[in-house]
Amino acid sequence: MFGLFCYYFMSVIKIQNISKHFGSLKAVDDLSFEVQAGQVFGFLGQNGSGKSTTIRMLLSLIHPTSGQIEIFGKRIEKDREAILEQVGAIIERPDLYPYLSAREHLELFAKVRKQKICEADINATLEKVGLAHRAKDKVQTFSLGMKQRLGIGIALVHNPSLIILDEPTNGLDPQGIADIRQLIQYLAKEEGKTVLVSSHLLSEIEQVAHQILIIHQGKKMVEGVTKELLDPEKRIVQIKTTDDANALKVIAASSFSNYLLPRSEGVYLKIPTREIPLLNESLVKAEVALLGIETKNSLEDYFLQITSNA
């Protein structure tokens, strides 16, 4: 019981000041973060922001220029094999062997694990990723989405405690995306797995992650608990008018001036939800030609706000 208690308060991943330079390019620059056990950790950033480079360093595919990586309390460069025994990962694209079937892939990767993986485990994994009906088909006949599912299956077949999913919804249709979201939630809630998931489909991360970290140009922009960062009590709204300059003047002179967000274009406010009707009323009274008030409170808006201010 005490062991289980400790597990849930332990940092599964601890990254301290890692950097990776490719010549003069700083792909990752002095990045530090921790992922707690049993958590779904959302790792966000635009394409080329350094997410995949960081994940590759976590999996020892890339050697960091500096810094330290600990997984399960062990240093990756010293205890690589023991760490990777408990890790399942997909990295970017679902690259597989076109001449092998889905079942053959799982059987091959089961063979290179130290624990015993039986036929039933392979069948269960195929069911879990929705490929049981195509188990015997060669991967060259698979769609991108099916390859992605198989990639996730390979990551899960040995029942790892830490799952690292780099852009897992790439190439999936809306149903496939929803399935992966459910799978991530199931793995964390029902099986107590720790999941690090990176994506640029920010709405997906918003729905599954307990904690998020946003990086931009290899540097940490913001990190925190998803619910706190996306405070439901305060919403970002865009005031749509025919005359933004006049609207800005009216708001600046009102009690809502503290809520104004500095943006080069458009009128944005971060405002308590309960005050939105009052704002609407005051703008109407000031005869601002109002087209609408649009709530901008998704993680994507938040992400764009953070990165555009960088």
């Binding site: 890339i62 690589r80 990777l84 092998l100």
Partner: protein
């Protein structure tokens, strides 16, 4: 380690490309055997035309043993090119597919994976050689029968009694396996440097062709480097078919004329294998897997 080798072998033999080399060898050998079966007498008369006035040879000159020798002379130059098709693709092919990162995120060191891949490629090479031996020696013995082996060297002839031939072929094939494993390890090294298969395959073939030319040219400048080129030693399987003679110029059964030459060649080839594989391991261990 064995599980990694099994995985690599499974992948090698699941690919249609693997069987091209087996098919090519079978096709070449069958064509040559067919040609010699139909027109063999004319061919042996042509071979013997220079010595017919001074020497009378009884028995079946064009027998299975001689056919095998002819086939080996022709094919052991080209088999390395077929070996390169697989060996030079072992790492670069996976880098190109993107599957190298799948392998390197399993709980095994890169060194183990590289060794497993090399051993799997070596098993493929040995199987190719066994296939060559089966077709060139045993099928030829079955089609053409057996007799004493009569070989014409540049300025002398060698006659080996038929009961003294088979072990020499065993030795020659074991030697050839070292030669082909050197090619495998070269292809492997070039494969570790690249992220696509074409470069290492063409590179391996080019190195073999270039070194073979250097090995065969009798220019003083090249003679300095010749002993260190693996291609100089690859053809020394033929030494198993040079025999010692006694004071009466009679062949000594079970003897080899120049055993030290074979030993030196084996050492040089083995050193090349160790060098190429070690270099591959060092390169892969230090490499960032970006594909």
């Amino acid at each position: 380690m064995w599980s990694l080798i099994k995985v690599e072998l499974y992948k090698i033999f699941s690919r249609p490309r693997t069987y091209i080399a087996f098919g090519a060898i079978a096709a070449l050998i069958v064509v040559i055997q067919l040609g010699l079966k139909i027109d063999g007498d004319a061919y042996s008369s042509f071979l013997m035309k220079d010595i017919n006035d001074t020497l009378t040879v009884d028995g079946k000159v064009l027998n299975g043993y001689l056919i095998c020798y002819i086939l080996l002379q022709l094919l052991l130059v080209h088999v390395p090119l077929l070996v390169a098709l697989i060996a030079a693709d072992m790492i670069s092919g996976e880098a190109n597919l993107g599957t190298l990162r799948l392998l390197f995120t399993t709980p095994y060191s890169r060194t183990r994976w590289v060794l497993a891949k090399f051993i799997a490629a070596s098993i493929y090479t040995i199987l190719l050689l066994i296939w060559l031996a089966f077709l060139a020696l045993f099928v030829s013995m079955w089609i053409f029968g057996t007799d004493d082996l009569f070989l014409m060297k540049s300025n002398y002839v060698v006659l080996i009694e038929q009961n003294d031939v088979l072990w020499r072929y065993v030795g020659a094939f074991v030697f050839a396996s070292f030669a082909l494993l050197t090619v495998t390890s070269l292809g492997f090294l070039l494969s570790s440097l690249s992220s696509n298969s074409i470069g290492p395959i063409v590179g391996t073939m080019s190195v073999i062709v270039f070194f073979t030319i250097l090995s065969t040219l009798n220019i003083p400048l090249f003679t300095i480097v010749k002993p260190y080129l693996f291609t100089t030693h690859m053809n020394n399987w033929k030494e198993f078919f040079d025999i010692q003679v006694n004071a009466n110029n009679e062949a000594i059964t079970g003897s080899i004329l120049n055993i030290p030459k074979i030993k030196i060649s084996l050492v040089v080839l083995t050193l090349h294998i160790i060098l190429f594989v070690s270099a591959s391991i060092i390169i892969i261990k230090q490499k960032d897997i970006l594909s």
